[in-house]
């Protein structure tokens, strides 16, 4: 197999690994700051008399906020790359090593500003329910939120950089993705937030927020707002929650995004290989059509495998747990 093709597949695996890290940290960042859907319970807690020491950071839906950070980082990095790459001809990666972290730092600063204003604003609005703004909670969570956000945005920007230069990196510039770096950051920012919001939040919302309620049942409407406020030692803050979710919810969420990135890139690359498109790239011919057909067929096979896996899992878990036996 030609070295260009091997390098393409190697870069694809790097992208999938970065995606795993990115979405794990995205979920933990949303747990650390209580963003997204389970935050409705933190909002509700003070209103039903449950004064708490939770961080209350609902900037917006996770997809949009993450898209904002990733586009900010991507745009700064892209501008810096434009300026720095001509200075190191032949060794453009040196420009990326400097440009990407600087871009991501810019995005993290914006994240921390939004976290501060949204926590203070939302908690101040609960004054009538006697919910104080605990300054140690505010100060103690900003750095962990920023650190988690840095990891997410950094990995997504790296994915966008690799994808927009994947052809150049593997020796065939015609294979570079047609989208520019900031647009790829936008696409994966939306997707990473969408997945972090839909998958990982379940572990935080269903289990950790209501840990003193019976395990193994959906959380009833009467429980809503009555969140678990005490930790194994002392009063619970978000730092206890991120540590708990890092054991299951975070990695599961990371695996979701990692698998999606792996499958979408893998089907495309294997389709190109099976269709005879690599490494010569005879575009817009029957070979290109064949590559597309292989991509679609492989994608449908993955969908079928997932459907069968889901069917088996649902049947197994229903049999294992059985009908509801509580009151």
């Amino acid at each position: 197999m030609p070295i260009e093709v091997v390098l393409l597949f190697a870069w694809m695996l790097v992208i999938a690994f970065l995606a795993f890290i990115a979405c794990t940290f995205e979920d933990l960042e949303s747990d650390m700051g209580s963003q997204s859907n389970p935050n409705s319970q933190v909002q509700l807690a003070a209103q039903v008399g449950q004064i708490n020491r939770f961080f209350n950071k609902a900037i917006s839906g996770e997809p949009l906020s993450n898209a904002m950070y990733c586009v900010t980082a991507g745009t700064i990095a892209w501008i810096l790359l434009m300026q720095l790459e001509p200075l190191v001809p032949g060794e453009e990666w040196k420009a990326a090593v400097l440009a990407i972290p600087i871009g991501v730092l810019g995005a993290v600063v914006i994240n921390i500003i939004f976290s501060t204003t949204s926590h203070c604003g939302r908690t101040a609005a609960m004054k009538r329910f006697e919910q104080p703004i605990y300054l140690d909670v505010l100060y103690g969570h900003l750095m962990p939120i920023g650190a988690h956000a840095f990891m997410t945005t950094f990995c997504i920007t790296c994915i966008a950089y690799i994808q927009s230069n994947i052809g150049t990196l593997s020796g065939n510039p015609a294979l570079d993705h047609p989208f520019a770096l900031p647009l790829l950051g936008f696409i994966w920012g939306i997707t990473v937030g969408s997945i972090g919001s839909s998958t990982g939040d379940v572990h935080y919302g269903t289990e950790r927020e209501f840990q003193d309620r019976p395990f193994g049942e959906g959380k009833r409407v009467v429980y809503h707002g009555k969140i678990t406020r005490y930790a194994s030692c002392g009063i619970r803050t978000q730092r206890d929650i991120a540590g708990f979710c890092a054991k299951f919810g975070g990695p599961c969420t990371g695996m979701t995004f990692g698998l999606i990135i792996l499958f979408t890139n893998w089907t495309t690359l294997v389709g190109m290989q099976l269709g005879g498109f690599l490494p010569n790239l005879p575009a817009f011919t029957a070979i290109g059509d064949m590559a597309a057909i292989w991509t679609i067929v492989l994608g449908l096979l993955i969908v079928a495998a997932l459907a069968v896996g889901h069917l088996i899992f649902v049947k197994w878990v229903r049999k294992k747990c059985g009908p509801f036996v509580g009151e």
Partner: protein
């Protein structure tokens, strides 16, 4: 009027209508699903629809670099979005099952229309179902496929008929998609399980609104292409 303008408007309208139908098919659980109080994916309509469409768009854009067939590009977009939504539903169920000990169960029907398994005995009282049961998974997969198809169709139209650049075509397709998904979200009002949900019967109202919005978007796209000199 040039026939290609009719083609652009027609495809944008079809893409918009498909996006609207897809949003109704997706199992949207919203905030209650994050607490295991409602069936479906634990996020809003627009957010999950957008995530799926983005993945589809990425696949479609990759495939569009080596084939010029409309059908192949749109189908690859549809499959990309379906893969995304299937992985999300499967992994969400893994967390429901192993992380919270919750059994996937539909809250809107007593018997699963596909497997004929009973739902009511497994449901927690005072909950509107929880997890992603089989009928919901099937509906969600269909939604992902239709939504991805619609998104990729709009991308292909903007790229190859209106001759926008790849980035502009992507942003344009996403924008029209979001407008239609938001219309669907208004119609859904919170949560929906899929085609078996009684709320699905409201679809015609959303389609009328979606047709109007997509038609307007198609006209704007055509005007932009004509005035911008790409057509």
């Amino acid at each position: 009027m040039e026939p290609v303008i009719l083609l652009i408007v027609g495809y944008v309208v079809i893409g918009g209508l498909l996006a609207c139908v897809a949003a109704h098919l997706l199992p949207v659980g919203g905030a209650p699903a994050a607490m295991g109080t409602a069936t479906g994916i634990a996020t809003g309509t627009v957010q999950i629809m957008l995530g799926a469409a983005m993945t589809g768009l990425f696949t479609a854009a990759s495939v569009d670099t080596y084939t010029d067939s409309l059908l192949l590009v749109t189908l690859s977009g549809a499959v990309g979005a379906t893969v995304m939504i299937c992985v999300v539903m499967f992994m969400a169920n893994i967390i429901y099952g192993f992380g919270a000990g919750v059994v996937p169960v539909s809250g809107r029907v007593d018997v699963d229309p596909i497997t004929k398994e009973p739902q009511a005995p497994y449901k927690t009282p005072q909950c509107d179902g929880h997890g992603v049961p089989i009928v919901v998974f099937v509906s969600g997969s269909l939604g992902g496929f239709i939504g991805g198809f619609g998104g990729a169709l709009m991308y292909y139209t903007l790229l190859n008929y209106a001759h926008f650049s790849a980035g502009t075509a992507a942003i344009g397709a996403i924008s029209i998609f979001v407008a239609n998904a938001i219309l669907a979200a208004y119609n859904i009002r919170g949560t929906i399980e899929g085609f078996h949900d009684p709320k699905f019967k409201r679809l015609p109202y959303a389609l009328v609104a979606s047709f109007a919005v997509s038609l307007l978007c198609g006209i704007v796209v055509s005007l932009t292409a004509v005035l911008g000199g790409t057509l």
